[in-house]
């Protein structure tokens, strides 16, 4: 007889954000068919994909994985991790794999693990461009061959297909590179014959765990139960619950159109979706449809390196200087550019004066009695960035502007040392759709034995 329900435990919004042990145990008591966890996001910006680093700490990821691997190995609940290491490139996957191996070594675990990579070579993208198979996701601009050549790292978001193939290997743990967020929660249910629209919509909620509950939290566990005609959500912490509104509102989160949510190979259509409150702080969702796309597209993400950054943070309290800050900063910038023959980015962030919203600030003229100033320099190498930042700081500190009566120094420097070398700077340069004939071929799977 076909399976009538499929239970998925989502321990946390991002692997490494943590969860209470009690919530996780409550979830395990409900005998889940799967533990799914999303580890990624583009929200932290382009740096992490560029540098090949995670935006979560190693110790926090290890702590979460200890619980999840114990469930997978000791209690035989399969586990799928999406977008390993935050961005899902090879370095991120290997970083996560090293943590898994470390835990296995310490606990004496032996299990087979499938690893799915999501890196895309520049050649693959260039070849697809030649065949007019790459298009921007508006408002991203069209890309050029140069843009692709300058990419440091490119990943593609995998859909369900590579994960379905990995499930055939019967591995206890599947570790995915860049992955469409709902997939780790949805793929095994799709394989068991459940409706893909409902499975992916449930995954869409579960990938953020208790963020969709109320009160919301990025670090608590929830359970989704998929049926043939709908799915139900419940909090695994009695202090939270799902409501109709909290669940419906979540479909708005970080999306531009809540009725149509595009992903690899198709779109989730919520035009006919119903959200119903059930007892016990649970919610039932039904009516969501998956509309396959033809041709199949995957989203590419790529970044380029812009340079190296140095910053200096200081306060300004002198009312005369605060009153004419824009002209003074312009004059200082000009002097630094001229003296050092520097043409790269020289930026001033004035907190207390349109520092957060810039040109979009509606209250541009409301003054503050003090300013927080961040001086920022981006140069081709760190040494040059440091040198320009240092010169910028000292020039501004002693700048003799018209009307000045405080002649000892213009800045309340926050720290000693006053300047901070921030390292590499990256920018998003690829955020495009690429048509593929075979949604599996981009994402190679390898099966490895993990042992102590």
């Amino acid at each position: 007889m076909a399976q009538t329900e499929f239970r998925v435990l989502s321990p946390t919004a991002i692997l490494g954000y943590g969860f209470p042990r009690e919530s996780f145990e409550r979830g395990m008591e409900k005998r889940p068919d799967l533990i799914g966890v999303d580890a990624g996001s583009t929200d932290p910006g382009p740096y992490y994909l560029g540098a090949g680093k995670s935006f979560t700490s190693r110790s926090a990821v290890k702590r979460d994985l200890e619980f999840i691997l114990a469930a997978a190995v000791e209690r035989s609940v399969p586990c799928i991790i999406g977008t390993a290491g935050g961005c899902g490139a090879r370095e991120h996957v290997e970083w996560t794999e090293s943590i898994i191996r470390e835990i296995a070594g310490q606990k004496g675990y032996t299990f087979p693990m499938a690893v799915i990579h999501a890196d895309v070579s520049k050649e693959t993208v260039l070849e697809a461009m030649e065949r007019q198979r790459v298009r921007p996701l508006p408002p991203a601009p069209e890309i050029t061959v140069e843009d692709v050549r300058h990419c440091v790292r490119i990943v593609a978001q995998m859909g369900a297909e590579p994960v379905l193939r990995a499930l055939d290997t019967d591995c206890r743990v599947i570790l995915c590179g860049r992955c469409y967020d709902p997939i780790p929660f949805a793929a095994p249910a799709v394989r068991a014959g459940f409706d893909p629209g409902l499975a992916v919509h449930m995954g869409k909620v579960l990938e953020c765990a208790a963020i969709a509950a109320t009160p919301g939290s990025g670090c608590d566990c929830v359970m989704g139960t998929l049926y043939r005609d709908g799915f139900e959500l419940e909090s695994l912490n009695p202090q939270r619950r799902f409501t109709r509104v909290s669940t419906a509102a979540h479909t708005l989160y970080e999306k531009s159109d809540p009725y149509h949510l595009p992903g690899p190979g198709g779109t989730l259509d919520l035009e006919a979706t119903r959200f119903e409150a059930l007892d016990g702080g649970r919610v039932r969702v039904s009516g969501t449809r998956f509309v396959p796309a033809d041709p199949y597209t995957v989203k590419l993400e790529g970044v380029k390196r812009t340079g190296y950054r140095s910053i200096c943070i200081a306060g300004i309290r002198d009312p005369i200087l605060v009153g004419r800050i824009d002209t003074v900063l312009e004059a200082v910038k000009e002097e630094v550019r001229k003296d050092l023959d520097f043409t790269g980015p020289l930026l001033f962030h004035q907190y207390g004066k349109n520092g957060v919203m810039g040109a979009m600030e509606p209250e541009k003229d409301r003054g503050s009695h003090e300013l927080g100033l961040v001086m920022e320099v981006i140069a081709p190498d760190q040494e040059q960035a440091n040198a320009v930042c240092s010169y910028l700081r000292s020039t501004l500190l002693h700048f003799g502007y018209p009307g000045r009566i405080s002649t000892a120094g213009n800045l309340a420097l926050l720290y000693s040392p006053s300047d901070i070398a921030c390292g590499e700077v990256y920018e998003f340069s690829l955020y495009h759709l690429m048509e593929v004939d075979d949604p599996e071929s981009l994402f190679p799977i390898c099966v490895r034995e993990v042992k102590p």
């Binding site: 996701l137 419906a248 531009s256 919203m357």
Partner: protein
């Protein structure tokens, strides 16, 4: 016409990235009746958001009324791509303030 501050009727007013190139603003109402009234009179428009943020209306990508959550959502082109030198809000999470100052008509409510 009588008006009330939007903050009295809204449970949530927030902004966030929708991918690195877009900024999306959500307004969730406490009461579906208030939401429905404002939807009926087309209070929230692309022009209103363009004005609030001092951008051209072509920078407003989408305005949606979402009945299941009694919510209005408006998506703008990010003035700078997230994390680009000069961008000061990588997550786009502090761009909602202009909406907080709105007042909305009260006409039909007791």
């Amino acid at each position: 016409m009588k008006t009330v501050p939007l903050t009295e009727l809204a449970a949530v007013i927030r902004s966030k990235n929708a991918g690195p190139y877009e900024l999306t603003i959500d307004i969730l109402f406490k009461n579906a009746r208030h939401y429905r009234y404002l939807k009926e009179i087309h209070f929230f428009t692309e022009e209103l958001f363009a004005r609030l943020y001092g951008v051209g209306v072509e920078q407003v990508l989408n305005l949606v009324y979402f009945d299941p959550a009694s919510a209005v959502k408006c998506t703008l082109v990010r003035p700078m791509v997230s994390g680009t030198p000069g961008d000061a809000d990588v997550y786009g999470a502090q761009q909602h303030a202009p909406v907080l100052g709105l007042r909305v008509p009260l006409e039909e409510w007791p």
